[in-house]
Symmetry: C2
Subunit: 322 residues, 2 copies
């Protein structure tokens, strides 16, 4: 292999993390720049390119780099654009031709996709889904994202935006308002913010005792709910059951769609371990068609979380042909 | 093209329809045999082979036939098997190695898939989805089936059974029992039998006037509901609105999965035309993520219904390499 490395970049609302990665999924060197300081996307791309060159040149050479993979909110794989990314300071304009500008500037091929798809590619290349051709990655963070792999490739669909499984409707009547503008979306319940919201709702609607009553309601996070549950708090445990049940119901429908070998869960909420996994698996198997009952694996991501976003993005760059 | 024809076979609960098809999708000659007379699958396969040879040999030659495509309930494309097909008299045994036995007997390559996937391939080859690489076929017949096309190929998933969209859960509380063993499935509402069931429920639960009260409740069919609606019967029209609304909600979730260019509706219930199409499209656009609002086409199948099943199955055989 003439060019043994790729660069992976994870663009989030506050920072863009940049890493140089080898074929075994080792992040050799890494850095980060702020992504919330400019609303000028051209300036941001320039800063990103400068940071890459600086990072790589310390110990390696730019001509050892095969290409660059980027995971970004609202990233479009087909077009290499970031579209309507309201969570990015520089994402205010409708369509940013990100890879085109960046590739010209840095002289390397650049691939871009959304963050959940990048995580799926990372999991397939380096993680729990190695060797799998059909699986679904569900990211349980601030929101709920997904990357669907079918026949060894990410499912992008007609327009590049397939795999928005956080926005299937789980509650049809009086569902919570979701950030996407719909109501009742999975994301409004099975995300970290959804868990905190469930806790606040329960505390307000009942007078059940709970450790969570020691925290001002508006400050409660999913981490607080997790810690209370670990101390045996019944209300907090019920929140995880409620969340896991709903996620399991959603997974049973996803299985009817693409019949995956496994579903891989990724992101902050997976730190709650069995608290979330147990109700997810029970509810999935209770709601799935008989032909798939107890046959679909549910796994936690095996990627080291601090590296995962970079690895996922970098994996895109391995698909670039020489 | 040395071998200009293929054979398409549609196996249903009562008959197996057989047709010889050319590359333009013309059914040149066709016949049918009973599928409900023997519980011996080997005898059925023998009868099928005899019927094919007899049909083709009348005006054509067997060595002009490139291969055979079959659509069958519970057909598995990967394995060429029919598995647990409780609706087929000869389907009682768990796994029938259908294509293996048939191919040996008749000396031609044989491909098999389930009926809805066959319909999707047919629609892509000859019908409303020509030129489309990403679409979803929904068959609205006695049951609700689906064939999902992604990147120009049918989505089969890990085990060959992907695309069971009739069995996503639409009603989570007190949902109707579905033939699959689950409750609340789309199929229990949006199929022809579901429409009849909705009518019976409405007639029993209310004392609304309706032309349908002239028919003994247990005899009401979806066709009766259609005819009443066409005569302006309000209750019957409400049944179509209810059914179309639910189907539209389901479609909005399917879009979030695979982001198709179009959704093609096929089967008996599509004969109701605007009565079903209007609420489907309205509900789909009301429930879909904003990025897809008013962007996804909903089309009726363009395949001539009497030929459609044969054409769909035959299209599989064109994919056989020489």
């Amino acid at each position: 292999m003439e060019k043994p490395y790729v660069v992976g970049i994870d663009i989030g609302g506050q920072t863009a993390k940049i890493g140089l990665v080898d074929a075994r999924g080792n992040v050799l060197v890494q850095t980060a720049i702020r992504s919330d300081e400019t609303d000028d996307y051209k300036k941001f791309i320039n800063d990103l390119c400068d940071a890459i060159v600086k990072l790589v040149s310390k110990e390696y050479k730019m001509d050892q780099v095969r290409g660059i993979g980027i995971g970004a909110p609202n990233g479009n794989f087909y077009k290499g654009t970031i579209e309507n990314a309201v969570n990015l300071k520089f994402g205010g304009i409708k369509v940013i031709p990100f890879t085109e500008i960046m590739s010209k500037k840095i002289g390397l091929p650049v691939r871009l996709t959304n963050d959940a798809n990048a995580a799926a590619v990372g999991e397939m290349t380096y993680g729990a889904a190695r060797g799998m051709n059909n699986f679904i990655m569900i990211t349980l963070g601030t929101g709920v994202g997904s990357g669907i792999v079918v026949g060894g490739s990410v499912l992008y669909g007609h327009d590049g935006f397939a795999g928005e499984l956080g926005h299937v409707t789980m509650v049809r009547k009086n569902g919570r308002l979701c950030g996407c503008g719909k109501t009742g979306c999975l994301e409004a319940y099975a995300s970290a913010t959804g868990v905190a919201r469930s806790a606040r709702e329960q505390l307000e609607a009942t007078d059940r005792k709970s450790l969570l009553r020691n925290i001002p309601a508006e400050n409660i996070t999913s981490k607080d709910v997790f810690e209370a549950a670990m101390q045996g708090d019944e209300l907090a445990k019920d929140i995880f059951d409620f969340t896991g049940n709903m996620l399991g119901e959603a997974l049973s429908d996803f299985i009817a769609f693409s019949s995956p070998e496994a579903i891989v869960l990724f992101g902050g909420l997976t730190k709650s371990g069995d608290l979330i996994m147990k109700p997810v698996v029970e509810s999935m198997n209770a709601n799935v068609m008989p032909l798939w009952k107890n046959k679909i694996k549910v796994l936690f991501s095996q990627l080291n979380e601090s590296d995962a976003a970079i690895l996922g993005a970098s994996a895109l760059a391995w698909e670039i042909k020489d």
